[in-house]
Symmetry: C2
Subunit: 655 residues, 2 copies
């Protein structure tokens, strides 16, 4: 029936057909394909490009507009000193191993993971267990590569060991990965050769700025530093108030060691990053109440360290109350990330938030939760949500001497008392000459208890200090007095902490496509992409019966009325059957189609087709436009549309 939703997961995910669809419809393709391509670089074709633009538009609405964030656009090319300060030059690296004979380069953790997974799959096969359907393709791919690891049964102990290591693999250091390779005889699956000890490889692309190569530069691996360096200007733009957030959507680059997982691991990608600046002493969020009841699948670090990957279903409110998520602001963003992903079409049943383990955390982070989405490659990090604390602002401020701080006017001044040394500077200068400055510096470094001691000595007549060069200088009350003074502080200065939700848009786009792909039983060879209207590349397909000129005025009318209502449509007047044109647009994820035929010319009727159910309705052209606009905007659904219009059964309704 037209108004019954079809179960999208009726068929197992068929990766071969899925990839063929993406390729055929040019969602994306290897960049420089006619030159043989380069691993990890992809171009988006028209539907991929529109899908990405729509995801970005929705992201802007959901985060920037809704939360009044300050959007910026900073440069990709970055002079080296910035990343020296931020720690990226020293630490933004992955561990790689080389094939001991061929010199082929492999990423160490991926090698371990792939080999262990292949062995576990071989073990399952040997035990006669059916592999998970989801893993089918993965296994086939592995089989091809994993020279000796097919259908060999492992001991129960070894299976357990592998599983525990896999659960906490992200926590292993380079040398530890090297040990794993030796202990478990992990070799290059392509050749069967041993691999070398893991070495660090910095993932930043290098370049140089200017005609004489005077400025070494890097392509940014994240947009974050561009936010931090502009912190003072942003704070001023926000009238000096905290909390506030900056946001940026833009390209970043990572020179991945050996990218093999399609859009999930690329060398150039579009990110969307938020840097939310908060008072380190107050990480509450004023809108936390709005998300308190959102239920999440959480995988915290303790569970992982114990060798498990079992998630806990819990509300974000409870997770923050129990200290599982460090603070309200972090929890707020985790929930908002969840809402965004589900809104654009990610399957919530395959979405979990995994906490970073201690060694795994980036050098700047104090707590971090990844939104991981399950897909045919496994669980993939698509969004990171880290508390970077005051790390970045502190190091840049220290390096440049430019204060990156908040000055907060205190409602009640803070009154403090402390001991202070007061010098009779004139007499001091006369008596000590150039040592006068040295003495003042020594006193500036003394703490309360030392000052008490000196105060006592001075009361006895004199006190002696020793200069760094070892010279003893005697001081009398005529030169210096120690007194208790009252200080009133009306401004509080602090370096804000930064909560950073960071989105890999290409990864999200890819899993979205996987989660929304299926095939109809009656047309198993062709796919359907059930993308939500909000992100679908084209919202409405206009299908004239043929390319005959008599349909042109109606095509113009319908497409311009839709455009005025803000709905993006496309006309397909190609020389093929209406059914084939609809099938093509099912593959493109177009949620609605309208057909213009001779009845349209005569009676101004138009049929409306819904992609997922293939149900068709008919009505007056303007009525149908009204219905489809409401459907696309989400203010109506197909069930309601079925009430507003007549069911179309292929026979022209009598007017």
């Amino acid at each position: 029936m037209a108004n019954l939703p079809v179960n999208k997961t009726a068929h197992a995910f068929d990766k071969v057909k899925f990839e063929a669809l993406l390729n055929r419809r040019f969602f994306y393709a290897p960049a420089f394909e006619i030159y043989g391509g380069v691993a990890g670089l992809y171009d988006y074709g028209p539907p991929g490009s529109s899908l990405q633009a729509n995801i970005i538009a929705e992201w802007r609405k959901h985060f920037i507009v809704e939360e009044h964030m300050l959007e910026i656009d900073s440069t990709i090319m970055t002079p080296a000193p910035v990343f020296e300060t931020s720690g990226h030059v020293a630490r933004f690296a992955d561990w790689m191993v080389k094939d001991a004979k061929t010199g082929d380069v492999l990423r160490a953790d991926h090698l371990v993971k792939n080999v262990f997974e292949a062995r576990l799959a071989g073990d399952k096969e040997a035990r006669g267990q059916a592999a998970q359907p989801q893993k089918e393709d993965e296994k086939k791919r592995k089989k091809k590569n994993a020279v000796k690891n097919v259908a060999v049964q492992l001991s129960d102990e070894l299976v357990k060991e592998y599983e525990v290591i896999l659960a906490q693999l992200d926590n292993y250091s380079g040398p530890e990965l090297g040990e794993l390779c030796r202990k478990y005889d992990i070799r290059n699956p392509d050749t069967g050769n041993e691999v070398t000890e893991p070495q660090q490889f910095n993932l930043m692309f290098t370049s140089s700025i200017g005609p004489t190569g005077q400025h070494p530069g890097y392509l940014r691996p994240e947009t974050a530093q561009g936010h931090f360096l502009n912190f003072s200007r942003l704070l001023e733009f926000n009238n000096g108030r905290v909390p506030f957030a900056s946001a940026q959507i833009g390209r970043s680059f990572r020179n991945e060691i050996s990218p093999r997982a399609g859009l999930l691991r690329v060398r150039e990608f579009t990110m969307a990053e938020i840097e939310h600046y908060v008072d380190p002493d107050d990480k509450r969020h004023e809108r936390f109440g709005e998300v308190r009841d959102v239920v999440l699948d959480l995988l915290d670090r303790n569970v992982q360290v114990a060798g498990s990957t079992d998630v806990t279903k819990i509300t974000v409110g409870e997770a923050v109350d129990k200290g599982i998520i460090a603070n309200e602001t972090l929890g707020y963003f985790v929930a908002r990330i969840y809402q965004f992903l589900v809104k654009i079409g990610v399957d919530s049943a395959r979405l979990r938030f995994r906490q970073h383990m201690a060694n795994e955390m980036a050098h700047y982070a104090t707590d971090c939760w990844d939104a991981e989405i399950q897909n045919s490659y496994g669980w993939t990090e698509c969004v990171g949500c880290a508390d970077r604390a005051a790390y970045d602002l502190t190091v840049h401020s220290k390096k440049t001497g430019h204060p990156l701080i908040v000055r907060q006017a205190l409602k009640e001044p803070i009154v403090t008392e402390k001991l202070v040394a007061e010098f009779d500077k004139k007499t001091l200068g006369k008596t000590l000459g150039k040592d006068a400055g040295v003495v003042q510096k020594i006193f500036a470094d003394l703490d309360e208890s030392q000052l008490v001691k000196v105060q006592g000595e001075l009361a006895q007549g004199s006190s002696t200090v020793v200069t760094p060069e070892g010279k003893e200088i005697q001081l009398t009350p005529a030169l210096v007095t120690i007194e208790r003074k009252t200080f009133k502080q009306s401004v509080r200065e602090y370096t804000p902490n930064v909560i950073e939700p960071s989105f890999g848009l290409g990864r999200i786009l890819y899993v979205l496509l996987e989660h929304n792909f299926w095939a109809r039983e009656q047309d198993i060879e062709r796919g359907v992409l059930s993308l939500p209207s909000v992100v679908a590349p084209t919202k409405v397909l206009i299908v004239p019966l043929s390319a005959k000129e008599e349909f042109n005025p109606l095509i113009q009318e319908v497409s311009s009325k839709l455009r005025r209502a803000g709905v993006f449509s496309r006309v397909d007047d190609s020389n093929t059957s209406i059914g084939k044109r609809y099938a093509r647009n099912d593959e493109l994820g177009t949620p609605f189609g309208v057909t213009l035929d001779f009845a349209s010319v005569q009676n101004r009727t138009m049929t409306l087709r819904e992609r997922d159910t293939t149900g068709q309705l008919i009505g007056n052209i303007d009525e149908v436009i009204g219905v489809v606009v409401d459907l696309v905007n989400g203010s109506s659904d197909w069930a309601e549309a079925c009430n507003r219009l007549q069911v179309y059964d292929g026979v022209q309704a009598v007017e």
Copy 2:
């Protein structure tokens, strides 16, 4: 009066105040400013970023949506072979000179231009002529640098020589620029030192892809190659039909030699490029009629070569008819570019289209028109519109062996007759052995007249051919016959030509800001940016009388009603007078403001203020929202708004 438009150009352009405003309001700022900055790299702050996003959104509507272009998103990082083939490695370069003593690097053509302009300005001063107000700042800047070139009168002949050279400077080669430096004693203005001979400097940033540096790569200097390499996929996506266009908005990089002109010459920038593919034999455009009467200021190459920069006012229709613009499609895009620029707020009186001279043209172009916009730096190219012919598709196809062509089914097959050599292959093989192939190859290369000759000789009994090695081979009618055959061609294959409109969005953004900047007589210290609503960063400012909580429900209501109507607003509840808040938003280019005060809470009235006139109206909150939405969407103007609402004179209207 509230409904009289203010003349924006009432005051001369004050560059110092203008730059102070852009900096104070964080439209943009030098990137890595706290690290001392790097020439040619800028970050956009919130208003600059929104302005850019709005320009892009309007560009998408005006070009991509309106003309059903296929949007793509290709990578920036590009393996070297692509740019070797395209000619960029060999030729994408500028000429630079070095200061003979300090080694400082200068771009040769800019050096000549700056020195000549400084000398001409000095000449004017010496002759007691008032310099053009527009050039004031330029001159001051020059003066500071141009050590010896102040207030010296030149001969009338020399003035003429300088002017003629400046008019065609873009046509000079490197060695010619070197000659100019010697002939006119052009030195580094910063030091007075001589400069070296011009050398070529390639403007592409280099990098390397992958962990072992195995793939040298460049950052793209334009997005175009990403379109061309995907041509086959795009054509297929368009169902094989031509003409069609691909479009892309993205970052490009040029390692400029010595960038000094703010946003007008940068090392990293956002471009929007269209590649419109046409039949080389038919460059008509089906919508040309819609733009035929658009009047343009054209500066064609003949005028420039004659040493003049006088524009001709002409319709695009006439320009194409007269052959000034090469073809309809090029003319169509020139007119559409004009319409776009004027729509977003560029002053049409300071917009001209300049044709490239022969030497100036990029290596790939056959005709090219630049949209140049006048600003305080002079006339600046902001959009290029080139006919790249079949250059790119041809070279990539040749290099890769991948056909980048259109296959057009012919309505009427083309029937041709020609002489063809037919071999008795069996006998030929037996008789000639391995020479059989050589003979067939020789015949394949013969033209019609040669075949006629052989035909005649064979009729006489035999014909002799000579192999490349000099061996004579005698052929008889038993081995080969020459006959006239009929061929029917039902598909035509061709490489399309490409018309490329290419937009530098940062340059457009900058001139837009200059063209819309002015100051009120009563508040000359503060500026106003009269940006059109369509691109203004914020459309409506919501100003509550104070930050008191009682205004919150109304703020929420107004802002959410505006958001639902698609209008982007911001609330300013900062602790300063309403007048100051409006003044700040005049500087941000916010076209409308609404004020919520106690009367709003009591009577649900709200005042509406227009930025350019500072006129204020008052009405019921929902009425005012209706008016402001129409104003922002452009479906109403201020004069009409004055009829729909009451004038507000500071006294609360009685309800």
